[in-house]
């Protein structure tokens, strides 16, 4: 990433030089989704609805996995799951 000190160092167009991947938003959570594989039908509705792209499916047919580095605990996945396979639980450290 370039060191910016004056206007002369600015890029030729407003653009970012780093990705937001470095911002791990998992620490925002107060509740976390817990996943019950026995109830999951692999409909992937949780994956479709997650606004943070924090539900990952590695290959077709796998169970969805939650990326706790970024999951902000909004609860949409639990709300949408038709088989109630996801339950929101209080975050241990908060």
């Amino acid at each position: 990433m370039p060191i910016l000190e004056t206007y002369k160092d600015l890029p030729s167009t407003p653009v970012t030089f780093y990705s937001t991947e470095s911002n791990k938003t998992g620490t925002w959570r107060t509740v976390r989704p817990t996943f019950n594989e026995s109830k999951c039908t692999r409909c992937y509705i949780c994956w479709k609805y997650c606004p943070d792209l924090s539900v990952e499916v590695a290959n077709e047919g796998d169970f969805p996995k939650i990326d706790y580095d970024y999951c902000k605990g909004c609860g949409i996945c639990a709300n949408e799951c038709p088989s109630e396979a996801i339950v929101m639980e209080k975050e241990a450290h908060k």
Partner: protein
Amino acid sequence: MIEVMTSNYAAAHGARLAKVEVIAAYPITPQSSISEKLAEMSVKGELHGQYILVESEHSAMSLLIGASYVGARTFTATSSQGLALMHEMLYWATGARRPIVMIVASRAMAPPWNIWGDQMDVIGERDTGWMQFFCENNQETLDTIIMSYKIAEDRSVMLPAMVVEDGFILSHTFEAVDLPNQDDVDDFLPKFNPELKIDFNDPRRFGGLVMPDWWSEFRYRIAQDMEGAKKKIVEVDKEFGKKFGRTYGGLVEFYNCDDADVVLALAGSAVGTAKDVSDKMRERGKKVGVVKIKALRPLPAEELRKLNDMVPVVGVFDRSFNFGHGGGIFSEMRNGIYTPDGGPLIKNYVGGMGGRDFTPKHMEWVFEDLLRIKKEGKVDRMIEWIPLRDGTGRWY
């Protein structure tokens, strides 16, 4: 190759010769025939780029900003209401540093509804940070479009440009135009090659949030680059002259000004009329000159300041009025030429709006008025609307 065509068709040929890659335009009188001609060229396979239909001028500009981010050379055309509709995106194009070139067939702003030539629409866009170039005739329209790409896409500039042709007065008038051949234009105008562009292998966010601690620096950069564009404009004009045999003075052209008693400064098609009248009056012993303002943005203040030592009286003709103090070009001229030590006597003539004809007779009246001011040594009134139906000035 010499062909007789309207300024609209000249603009369409200019875009074609510049090998524009993405065109998105929405029709509006008096610009419509530009879009129609480009669509025709696209269907016939003469157009190098893509012609995309959009639902409004705002969408057209938005689409072009996106296309420009990907590295495409872009073009659009509009007038008055359409230009006003894309106003928000004009600021965006400047901030995003996209070298989009747009032809504006300037037309009056409604209401009352009026489709004829005027300059209020482009004067209203002075503050957006777009470069503004005015054209005197059809040939200049074509040439300016080609030159604008070279200026705008230069890495030291990277600012959008609007090329202004007076609606109907140029857009619908047939004049002989020399179409340069494609090879010469390719030679003169290299491919668009921006430093940064959207790359799927290296994804970035463009145009994101900047906090108050850095925002001003971005604006300052634009101001600096706009100033630097002045040098580039003069350079490109000289290069164009060497390649194609035609130059336009770059920022400003002084015509018959050398030993002039008075000069009239103006922009657009009326410059041609003024030059003609100036020559005829010179033959009768009246020493009048014409200052053609080709670039309104960036404002060629240094060039205009030369008038302080050249003439004691400067008149400014405006096809617009900014409801502050005078027309657009008058405000800019006062801003440009006056120094803390003062400047020449200056008077604004507002006329030819909404398609009202500004004839050689009116022009002569203006020059005579300026000569009278020189003789009397003072300005009777700063702003004169001519011709107006109440008898102000001379009503033809």
